[in-house]
């Protein structure tokens, strides 16, 4: 198993995460896509850490990413609930108060 395989997986997961964020008409999918992207980044970090001289650094970074992802997911969900309550819709296109 070379590094490349893991990088490919990571890349594929990144692509899917971006697609989720951009293309799905539900705010929750945006959050899901965000998590997938973070996961892809984590896979990258750990894969490079495995094949590098100092594996600890990569893994530490991955841990911090996980921490941040968790915190971010909590706050994001709070905001999402608030927004959905205000705009009475789960579609991101409903939140267009800032449009001209």
């Amino acid at each position: 198993m070379g590094l490349g395989a893991y990088l490919c997986v990571s890349a594929a997961l990144l692509v899917i995460g971006i697609a989720l964020m951009l293309a799905r008409r539900n705010i929750l999918y945006v959050l899901m896509g965000l998590e997938l992207i973070l996961n892809a980044a984590n896979i990258n970090f750990v894969a490079f850490a495995r094949f590098s001289a100092s594996p600890l650094d990569g893994r530490m970074f991955a841990i911090f990413v996980i921490i941040l992802a968790a915190a971010e997911a909590a706050v994001a969900l709070a905001i999402i609930l608030h927004v959905v309550q205000l705009f009475h819709s789960v579609k991101p296109s409903a939140v267009d108060r800032l449009r001209e």
């Binding site: 594996p55 996980i66 706050v75 608030h82 009475h88």
Partner: protein, 199 residues
């Protein structure tokens, strides 16, 4: 895609294919990699293409588990466990709560958009990968060392002032702040979206 019979057949086929390909390439490790890769990417694809939000959320479970498995294959058992604990136990649960608390969505019908986004993203990423990933350079001479459990190493690193103590403490503070913030934001109150009263 919602009828189970073709889905089951597809899944079975994919499983066999990935296992087979992995095994052919790198033996047992390869088969395991194939399995976990399938879980990861398969879950993502299902999440992408599934019409129902709940089902998409559960597809994420597969992704997270797959990722955890990949972490294991990469010799980091602590990360694998942390992944499962936090992502599946925390974030996924959160997501599911969110799904439950939001009004149901009728689902979408337009999927070409999705494909377009996929293609675009794939193009970008593929470009980067093509240019950057001269992965041969990363293949070290000699064999990789056998993986060891790194929980102890990580724990020590967290508490060592010369290593990652400060970021660790900061992360704790950060988590506390995030917790308080989330609670504050999501508190129950009745609000008129168009009133000028500050929440």
């Amino acid at each position: 895609m919602n009828s189970s019979k073709p889905f089951a057949a597809l899944f079975a086929a994919a499983l066999i294919a990935s296992l087979g390909a992995g095994a052919w390439w790198a033996g047992a490790m390869g088969a395991a990699f194939g399995l976990f890769a399938l879980l990861t990417i398969g879950g993502g694809l299902i999440c992408l293409f599934e019409r129902s939000v709940v089902r998409s959320a559960f597809a994420l479970l597969s992704t997270f588990l797959g990722t955890s498995g990949l972490f294991l294959l990469l010799g980091s058992d602590f990360l694998a466990m942390a992944q499962v604990l936090i992502y599946v136990g925390g974030i996924l649960a959160l997501l599911l709560f969110g799904v439950m608390l939001t009004p149901p969505d009728l689902g979408e019908r337009r999927l070409p958009r999705v494909f377009a986004a996929l293609v675009a993203a794939a193009a970008v990423v593929g470009l980067a990968v093509w240019r950057c990933a001269d992965v041969a350079a990363f293949r070290r001479a000699g064999a990789l060392e056998a993986p060891r459990s790194d929980a102890e190493v990580i724990g020590v690193a967290f508490l060592d002032p010369t290593q990652y103590l400060v970021p660790f403490e900061l992360a704790a503070v950060f988590l506390t702040v995030a917790l308080v913030a989330a609670v504050y934001i999501a508190r129950r109150r009745s609000i008129d979206p168009d009133s000028k009263a500050a929440p």
